[in-house]
Amino acid sequence: MSTAEQPVAGAPSRHAADALTLCNVDVSYSVRREDQRVVRDVSFHVARGESFGLVGESGCGKSTIALAIVRYLARNGRVSAGTIEIDGRDVLGLNQTELRRLRAEDVSMVYQEPGRALNPSILVGRQVAEVYEVAGMDRQLAMGRAEEMLGKVRISDPKGVMGRYPHQLSGGMLQRVVIAMALASEPSLLILDEPTTALDATVEAEVLDLITGLRSEFNTSLLFISHNLAVIAKMCDRVGVLYAGEMVEEGPAADVFRSPRHPYTVGLLRSIPWRDPEGGAAHGENGGRPPLATIPGSLPAPGSVIEGCVFADRCGLADERCRTEAPPIYEIGGGRGSRCHYHERAQSVPLVAADAGQPEPAGGRDDRGGEPLLRLRSASKTFHMGGQTVRGLYGVDLDVAAGETVGLVGESGSGKTTLARVAIGLTGPDQGSEVTLNGHPVAPVATKRSATDQKALQIVFQNPDSALNRRHSVRRLISRSLSKLGGYSGDRLQARLRSLVDSVRLPERYLPMRPAQLSGGLKQRVAIARAFAGDPRIVICDEPTSALDVSVQAAILNLLTDLQRRENVAYLFISHDLGVVRYLADRIVVLYLGRVMELGPAGAVFSSPHHPYTEALLSAVPTLDDADRLRIRLEGEIPSAADPPTGCPFHTRCPRKIGEICETTEPELREEEPGHGIRCHIPLADLRRLQAIDTGPAPAAATSAPSER
């Protein structure tokens, strides 16, 4: 990339050519009349046509920087030092009119929730056209241009979409509209703040492709913000890694991710569970999983004053110097910089995975493969909503054996949570559904199940904020479960409480606290401790880490594997993150519109031949090192569960559709290999052949830019 020779260290030199320059920017929020500096001394620049990525964990100040650039900080926030220039113009010095012109002409922004970015009560077309009207166009003309623009973001029916309200469009469509709006003014700088975080992987892939395409078409500079390293790697030329409001490392994306020079970047990269998509099983079939690396500790509280290196507290390399002397940005050549005294040794930072502890021998409790513990037969759930019937789950058969981990994947709305709730008895299934636990059928509702059954099957919810009563102390949360599920009381309860919190690595000093005083990871540990209070046989985990940062996620995943090994518990692990599932699961179940599309041992499902849907899911996942992998893209929207397609539910989006039959006849779940079933009309051999070629007709929207101009 041409930007490699740009100086990065210290104050970047002003380049007339730069689309964006930040110079020693500090941003503070005043909270309870105290200034909290959440962005400190951040400098970077984005050259014309360049794509710059800003990556970092939640709360590190990414959005704050983005908003500071467009001067849209919250009322209590202000840029307390430094300068920001767009196209060489000092943003902070503009008056209202100039600022408005800047926003209208030079910079646009796209953010996380497309649904909220659009005005719910104004037609989509009007909102897009407004951009042109601001530029002085009359309404008629503006509407025409808006339609044109919607075409450019590859909306198939621009005219139709113009006449709709935002709530009538799907997330992916909305984000396209927002992008269309952002690009309509042909800005020199486009800021994207986690533009795909709220989207499904399949949709995310599409939107990312679209952005890549449009970027070259419009020759716009990008400031791309994400917590997802892989997305940044895919989208950006250069990257800046933020930690606690400081830019700790900067450089060409490929270089930074290949050989990070800051212990934080190193730690982040190591905690990603799955970095090799096609590299086969990440662990031995029967052996323990290698624990993931984690970063100990947590972010300093916003606004805390730190003397030395901000990362020192969590850094395996830190010494006295790090704690007292704040490191400057060390130029390390190749256009790279690192804010670490010991940047040369960064990669030697010790791997911390103490959660895993010493692998204990599985012991005699390993009774995998016997009679399934949990068994669902033709489990269906129909929701009735405002006269509509929504098939949340449709004829699902599923077994979970003792001690195994079954991964459940699928796009949003595919019925994963519904399946979990049916199994555990929080949602009563339709007539004819059967739930068997330990060989005997159980009541469809949890409250009617026997105490033993309740104990045997527990759940860890996705969102610990919702799952933990915020008015109860950690002690109360766990001990109540111990007494209700474990039947403990008195001293025995206290003893068990101590051993339980110890086994989830929750220091006892947290016991008197309320959930609000704990970080996300700690909260999830409390939730896990609670689920294990009654010595369950199966624990359902519904996306237990999706709300967590990667480094925290790693620790939780380590904890779960550790617990499984020691307690011989089975997991039904739900996730939309194939990496996580891949890391944990022995067997995988792929859901689509409430139906099982594929099911089988992890290795078999993740490697071809597999269902075209699985194939698409896999190829949608951005990874750090697959820049040139060919992708299968899914066309169109996920159909509504209220009105599922006839025939194969996937046929509307299937890149490998073979014809009539897909539209009319729903395929059986064929057990092609022992324990591996695929619901597809295409014979296994054909699938294998097609997917082996892998260069087959690039289906649907390819990665190239649209031809129209």
Partner: protein, 294 residues
Amino acid sequence: MSIGAVPVESAAAVSAGQADLRGQVLRDLVRQKSFIAGAVILGFWILAAIFGSAVVKDPSAQNLLLINQAPSGSHWFGTDSLGRDMFARVITGSRDILITAPLATLLGTVMGTILGLVMGYFRGIVDDVVGRVVEAFLALPLVVTGILGIVALGASNTTLIIVIGIVFTPLIARTVRAAVLLERELDYVSAAKLRGEGSLYIMFAEILPNVLAPIMVEFTVRLGYAVFTIVTLSFLGFGIPPPSPDWGLDISNNFPQVTAGYWWEVLFDALAVASLVIGVNMIANSIESALDAS
């Protein structure tokens, strides 16, 4: 070489320390000017109610020779149609209201909370049936409830408390229900069901603590309205019976004198009422914003 043997995130809120949330709310509260102002006003009337009679003239002492006297040095707020000192009556006129208003509000809050919890938690048929009744009560004009209650039970402070309690119950139930509807969808309720907790436990031990904030706000807001309602009912003749000095009653009795030009017989009472409701309301708002902030 492993550092950080316990790889655990430290408590998130370091700067806030382990400070109790309640402490924070309290600190936020006393920092607000409107809270201080409200507290001063309310405090004044409470003091006046307790110690006022020791300081001022006897509020019931009549002087039929000095009736309808305009404000003067000896009678700061004038005298009423029975020659009673209006200043004394205004100062001591808060006595009953300061007892009945909080009790009535408390009654309404407790009943409303129970009802709201039950409706919100069980939903379905319970909610439908109770909801209809609640809706019906909401459509019932205050006069009707007032007249029915007071005529049936006789005019007394207890009756007033019951009537206002009944009037407030559906209002509070509605707020609580809405909060409970949100809470019951949270997974901690599911978690409680999954460990076999009964409905009562879930409602009162799990959900109730989480809806206390809106209940508390509702309580303080309603407190102001209790004063409002008591004065209104007194004015309509459903209030506290004479001769105890009472703002609403005095206003009601002396209102016909207004056209004769004896404005002092109602104005000071009216202003006293206004100051009390505004004071209570300022406190209510401060509590609301302090709770919001945390």
